[in-house]
């Protein structure tokens, strides 16, 4: 499937983002945006665990997109999720900004669940995403 937005099907209150196997260790990819939202959802894998974050750097109140190119969310050393507006570095597991304009602020976590078949869904309400 070449268009990731095509994966975003409404299944009751769960939105399908991707398959768990789509995200390798230390990798991040963007999906969406979900209907009604302006921002994508970043799904990454760190120490084997999947985390999802709203693709919105907290530097500006509206939140701004973080990649420099499609799915390019990491710094060059691949150690941190990075906003390529001003090179703010975020901890992949906590979403905490550790260096850059939004120092001390945090990314918005998107709760996800992985189904039995390995599908990754957004869990819970998506209004704020």
């Amino acid at each position: 499937m070449s268009d990731p937005t095509a994966l975003l099907q409404h299944t009751e209150t769960r939105y399908l983002l991707c398959r768990a196997s789509d995200i390798g260790e230390g990798e991040a990819r963007g999906f969406g945006p979900l209907a009604g939202s302006r921002r994508k959802i970043i799904v990454l894998r760190r120490n084997g665990v999947l985390h999802a974050w709203r693709d919105a750097c907290p530097h500006y109140s509206t939140g701004t997109p973080m990649a420099w190119k499609t799915d390019a969310y990491m710094n060059g050393d691949k150690t941190h999720l990075t906003c390529h507006s001003h090179h703010a570095l975020f901890d992949m597991e906590t979403g905490q900004c550790i260096l850059g304009p939004c120092l001390g602020q945090q990314l918005t976590r998107v709760n996800i669940v992985v189904g039995d078949e390995g599908d990754v869904f957004v869990a819970g309400p998506t209004e704020e995403i």
Partner: protein, 314 residues
């Protein structure tokens, strides 16, 4: 002190390959670029130099996550370098390099270099428009746009710096280097142009906390608003991330379109900036969405009305 404007901006990056891809797609020409970086130039020879952040030949980094290492300014002649050296040598170390260029730090610790400019004189038309009541700028049968039309950055236009103290920054560039304030966005900072350049600004400051000190964005002049929008559209289609624009600023009147980059700052295409001379009186407006732009658009995928009417048979 006939300072013209930035010749080069030098960055110490963490991913040279990504920057090489980005700068080439942006429309810059790689010159002697290897795996360890090099120069990416505009049509007039000004441009961006990237090297890996561990490269020992780079000037030292800022104490922030910003990747800007040095701003290289072009001046008209060797006498201008002598004048700058004499002035700045009064209170700081000025290093004279073997090629005659000089290096020192500004009052915020930004690394500066001044050299006799390397820019080549351009001889190209601006975007031409036709309007009732004015002589046509395009001859009969001369078309305005075509799919493969060139849309390449012509020259490095300006740099915008995050600085903790606007007063210190403005005083340094105005009092010590002869820059002139053209307009002020209160709450952000002043626009400056150097004496030997009539562009509305080659430098702009934004007040920020110390830990943000660095380059906010850098910009390239395009041949006109159409080139700007064509270049930006092509860039987005390749997957690069728009940040703000396209639109047109109020102060400076320049069209703008900003993008994220792997160099840790925004990259801007700009076009059709105001020119000023010494009779200009600086305006002032409070920083905000209204003051900052006269129009703002957001790119969408190409679309056209049409197609078969509802219910038509294929």
């Amino acid at each position: 002190m006939n300072i013209i404007g930035p010749d080069y901006l030098i960055f110490g990056v963490d991913d040279v390959a990504a920057c090489t891809e980005y700068l080439t797609a942006w429309g810059l020409k790689p010159v002697n670029v290897t795996e360890s970086g090099g120069l990416f130039e505009t049509l007039d020879g000004t441009g961006i130099i990237v090297r890996h952040k561990a490269d020992p030949t780079l000037p030292p980094p800022l104490p922030t996550s910003n990747m800007l290492r040095q701003q290289v300014y072009g001046v008209r002649a060797a006498e201008d370098l002598d004048a700058i050296e004499a002035e700045l040598g009064r209170d700081r170390r000025v290093t004279r390099l073997s090629d005659g260029s000089i290096e020192f730090k500004d009052d915020h610790g930004f690394e500066l270099k001044f050299q006799v400019t390397i820019r080549r004189e351009l001889d190209m038309p601006a975007e031409k428009i036709n309007a009732p009541g004015a002589p046509a700028q395009r001859r009969p049968n001369e078309i305005g746009v075509w799919e493969e039309m060139p849309a390449l950055p012509r020259t490095l236009s300006h740099v915008v710096l995050f600085v903790p103290d606007i007063e210190i920054a403005a005083r340094f560039y105005c009092d010590r280097l002869g820059f002139v304030i053209t307009d002020v966005l209160t709450g952000a900072g002043p626009f400056l142009r150097p004496r030997a350049n009539d562009d509305h600004h080659t430098l702009f400051f934004i007040r920020t906390p110390e830990y943000m000190k660095g380059c906010e964005h850098l910009a390239f002049h395009m041949g006109g608003p159409t080139e700007l929008m064509v270049a930006g559209t092509r860039f987005v289609k390749k997957g690069y991330q728009s940040f703000w624009g396209p639109g047109r600023h109020k102060f400076g009147s320049n069209w703008f379109w900003y993008f994220n980059s792997p160099l840790g700052c925004h990259f801007e295409y700009d076009a059709d900036m105001d020119k000023h001379d010494d009779t200009w009186v600086a305006r002032e407006a409070p920083m905000g969405a209204e003051a900052s732009q006269i129009v703002l658009f957001e790119m969408r995928e190409k679309w056209a009305p049409g197609g078969p009417p509802p219910g038509a048979k294929h």
